[in-house]
Symmetry: C2
Subunit: 420 residues, 2 copies
Amino acid sequence: MIGPTAYFDPTTTDGLDAPLRGLVERRARALGSAYRLFYAEPVQFVRGEGSHLFDADGTDYLDVYNNVPSVGHAHPRVAEAIARQVATLTTHTRYLDAALIDYAEDLLGTFPAHLDNVMFTCTGSEANDLALRIAKTATGATGVIVTANAYHGVTTETAAISPSLGGPGSLADWVRFVPAPRPGVDFAAAVRASIAELEGSGIRPAALIVDTIFASDGVLPDAPGLADAVAAVHAAGGLFLADEVQPGFGRLGTGLWGFDRHQLAPDLVTLGKPMGNGYPVAAVVARSGLVDAFGRHARYFNTFGGSNVAIAAAQATLDVVRDEGLVEHAREIGDYLLERLRALQAERGSIRDVRGSGLFIGVELDTEEQALAAVNGLKLRRILLGETGKDNTVLKIRPPLVFDRSDADRLMEGLAEVVE
Amino acid sequence: MIGPTAYFDPTTTDGLDAPLRGLVERRARALGSAYRLFYAEPVQFVRGEGSHLFDADGTDYLDVYNNVPSVGHAHPRVAEAIARQVATLTTHTRYLDAALIDYAEDLLGTFPAHLDNVMFTCTGSEANDLALRIAKTATGATGVIVTANAYHGVTTETAAISPSLGGPGSLADWVRFVPAPRPGVDFAAAVRASIAELEGSGIRPAALIVDTIFASDGVLPDAPGLADAVAAVHAAGGLFLADEVQPGFGRLGTGLWGFDRHQLAPDLVTLGKPMGNGYPVAAVVARSGLVDAFGRHARYFNTFGGSNVAIAAAQATLDVVRDEGLVEHAREIGDYLLERLRALQAERGSIRDVRGSGLFIGVELDTEEQALAAVNGLKLRRILLGETGKDNTVLKIRPPLVFDRSDADRLMEGLAEVVE
């Protein structure tokens, strides 16, 4: 999540030229005050291709921000699969659909064997919300443990476990927050203490849920103590939910799923953002025993979830990830970037840390002001990038997976100019 | 919602031919036990057009069930709008997008002036969930009043106000249920009693939420006492949320929105299913004051909500509704159906009631068995239709809005054969 300071300030329309000002003001009137726009001078794009976005003048921006168009903006294979299906049939999962079954089997084949059921939703929020419903029903417990600056969604239930959103709901009595795992933090001890604290309040733990790259906590690839924490949750009768909405589908360069990097066996996994390269499709992958426990209490139907078009988009996206070797590509370009970023770190005092895996990299600066200056400085150089972490001090490098070596060089050139 | 008895029974695969049985068994293994399939012998469609669906043999089924492909299955204008946009650009609401602003203004222009903000989600569940977050934040209250067999969504929060789903969550202490408004029910008195009961438990009412056609309560177009109930909720400091996910976008034949039929001024309106003719797009429409109150506590972002493609689909769908005169068409065909159904009622003792508006009509039979026999009998005649209501006794006529007079005649011919 980009820091609040890098958003457009709606009280500053005076500084914009007339056409842009008109659009921004019309937008604020119609959409209201809960929405935000990126950048002091908002941008409008009209076309995307690969890891590049283009404005109305044809100016090329390098996209180092968007993880949703994971196989590249407007990828022709995905676009054609959607176009073909939408002109043919869009129905739902109450009719049989062989393509849905083929995709479900293909997707499940990429997971450990114990994860043998998949359920389709439209968004990562819906997936995490459903996973929590399943976890709470299957365990009969209600307690949920999340990291201190987690983001898991915008439904009422998932907003309550997303302290990075701020706002009401974060103080639900069934939620406990632990510091995200990084060197110097005893993550397992913090989780054990939360379990004890929950139990002391008469609340049994239903689940520990973590984004396996800890994106909103500042991009933390090493996660020391995570395996011990999962063992503690299991011992207390709770489940481990791996949120792969951001790290999943190959971004980390080490396989399709982030939990694999930590040799973990989650009970539930949630998928989203890049799953259909921008088409709204998401999923919960789970042990069938958990789905059975849920199914005894409630049947499940999601109007658009798993529609013929959603499946066409998801299948094409997964095919492209494999056919274009994007997992290996993410590792190769990610390693190259890490090497160059560490070389830059050796030169620049303000870079406190460089860390990441594949094409999910965090560059931690000393202060939020430095990060904000870098984000805005890069935007002037037509490079789109956000910041993350509790204090908004971490530059977040998270481009489409087709980001190539020349893109990496352009990014490094920009960073060298804007980082003190 | 079709009654549980009209679903496929997964313990009866023995009766299916080998290829169908293979598909059904693979599906059950991969998707698990919370999903349901329609019909004793499930169907697979490969193509849709207008109000017709086609199986692999090219056999034509008349669709009297699906309200999502509202302007017709695979409508070429919507399909082309999606195809064009998905091949060009799919991004999100943190960049400026003139088409999003144009659509937002166009959509808001169809509402009373006091409803001046729109926020985009992907599903009706997300829209109702967000509307409840806004209502609870703006009022500082938590109580919600819904009808006894309501359906408002599948997130944790919306499932808790959806007794028609059954299952855990329906017993949340902030929810109160009232009988749906129909002749013989004093709806306003029931709502006033619920408000008093909530207040007696120390809970202030945040909202009364109703589907303005009461679809899952059995299709109740007249809603006697609804206006008085809304006044009572307002007097108690609560809001009125009109759920237009099913009745909205012209289905009732009397304008675009169901609440108009009752001369009501909702505080919040939710939209979904037909909004993008199958593309996952949904929305909350609200007074800006409520959005401001929410925005002071939380900012809002939905990854896929209001994307360029979602907006292209929604704009094309709204354009088709107007350009093809589908509101008037729904009224004309609906009136014709109501007349023929009432003639059939005069002949058949099992038809207890015929009621509806436009292309949302309920035919209430004496027993669930009769309704089930009718649904399955129609399916043998290649006519797709569901049942609804607390006791599953109401045949639900809810086709794509392009349903024409010859479709209506075919439906009536089938009904005459299957209704006792």
